[in-house]
Assembly symmetry: C2
Homo-oligomer: 260 residues x 2
């Protein structure tokens, strides 16, 4: 679960790996816990953690267990505020929300996961931090499947091979073959659907967003409760969701580079 792919980024990579171990754990870890999860010798790990604490990336709880440091919030706040893609997408998300009245998500693909970058909803009942920055598996979310569909074939194969399927609901897709077939369908239609595949009672329609060279891949979705949003209604939003995605891509082309 906390096993990060063995990176070759030297000292920094190892430090971030430790950070990842601490981030991935549900409950607070103490020194020995981290020691077991990492494959570093004690002396080494101890210094790495000391450095991370010194830099404010890790905080120490009173019982000597570790948590993520607040400096990360500081960085993230700036990352979010200054993110060009998010800034460009923002008005389009707003518009899509006004057109549908439902929650709109913006997420980017990283590996086989989706990182949620923004969210627009009517009642801000749930705290934003509970969503923004959160990740979800790409294979069982609308945004994720839309994003996967925008990958070039060779790259798609690589990613599909990395997916670790897990059953969240009775509708969750559970093998690469089914997923692959669905992605072909998404490419034809231009829209992806999440039919209560990640969370029971929640469905959505999504559309892919990508940069001209497809190095950057993202997606936008409209989400709602399944009891209220019938498949027909969902499908009726497919067009405007694609339109929003298209408008964001158009804006990216004009605003992010002199010529496309």
């Amino acid at each position: 679960m906390a096993k990060t792919t063995e990176n070759a980024t030297g000292t920094l990579g190892k430090a971030i790996e430790v950070l990842d171990i601490i981030a991935s754990s549900a409950e607070p870890l103490r020194f020995t816990d981290v020691l077991k999860l990492s494959d570093q010798p004690r002396g080494t790990l101890h210094r790495q953690i000391s450095n991370l604490i010194e830099e404010g990336l890790i905080s120490v709880n009173r019982d000597n267990s570790y948590g993520l440091g607040l400096r990360l919030l500081q960085f993230a706040s700036k990352a979010w505020a200054s993110n060009q893609f998010r800034t460009i997408a923002e008005p389009h998300l707003q518009k899509l929300h006004e057109q549908t009245g439902e929650t709109v998500h913006l997420g980017v693909l990283r590996g086989t996961e989706v990182i949620y970058l923004d969210k627009v909803e009517s009642r801000q009942s749930v705290r934003m931090y509970s969503q923004i920055g959160n990740t979800a598996p790409a294979y069982c979310t609308g945004v994720g499947k839309a994003a996967l569909s925008a990958l070039p074939d060779d790259e798609l194969d690589v990613r599909l091979a990395q997916v670790e399927f897990r059953c969240f609901t009775p509708n969750t897709l559970l093998d690469a073959k089914t997923l692959s077939a669905e992605i072909r369908q998404i490419r034809l239609e231009g829209n992806a659907y999440d039919r209560e595949e990640h969370e029971a009672g929640i469905c959505c329609v999504a559309a892919p967003i990508h940069s001209y060279n497809r190095h950057f891949i993202a997606g936008v979705s409209v989400t709602g409760p399944a009891y209220r949003i019938t498949p027909d209604i969902l499908q009726s939003w497919a067009g405007i969701t694609r339109a929003a995605a298209g408008a964001i891509m158009a804006n990216m082309a004009t605003q992010l580079s002199p010529k496309m």
Copy 2:
């Protein structure tokens, strides 16, 4: 502006310093810009940035300028959700908001700055990320001054010496002597006030929060528009703000350590 205090945290420290340079800049920096701001040789800086990119901590815009990476959002989202202090404080912030009807902030002291950790307000008109994770100078905010007042004398002197005073409004305190006097007053009263010192038209009342050994220092505040919140009204909230801070400290004592 981006000059971080020369740290001795080895390779990691240097990498984070680069991250800080990129975070501190208003507009996107290109390679040479970062080179000028850091005092690293080109080859070195180039590798450092490459590693940061590889780890997802820095992203590259299409014009080769750098921004903060989305992986920081991922970390921050977890840091926020799992933060023990914030979790403990949350219900008390909620209650304070219900009692006053105004915006409630929770912030922790880091050096001479305050990092905002949480916020409760009625109309979520402003995006949360625009506040949470944000920092502000301690000397001109209610939460910040309350926090400073909880520092032991020797530590306070150290921090006061580090403050770089800057004028935000006509009311901003501009020298250590005045600030020091005000902190003595705050210690007597148990409350700090921001009388439009950071932002014109915005005032607040705050109270300090600290761990038993005062290694961890924070503050809670009630903020409102000055045209509506007269000094009298503000003062009438002093008691419940102190009470909220006290309740949070009591909860910390019982929940964070077996015995105090």
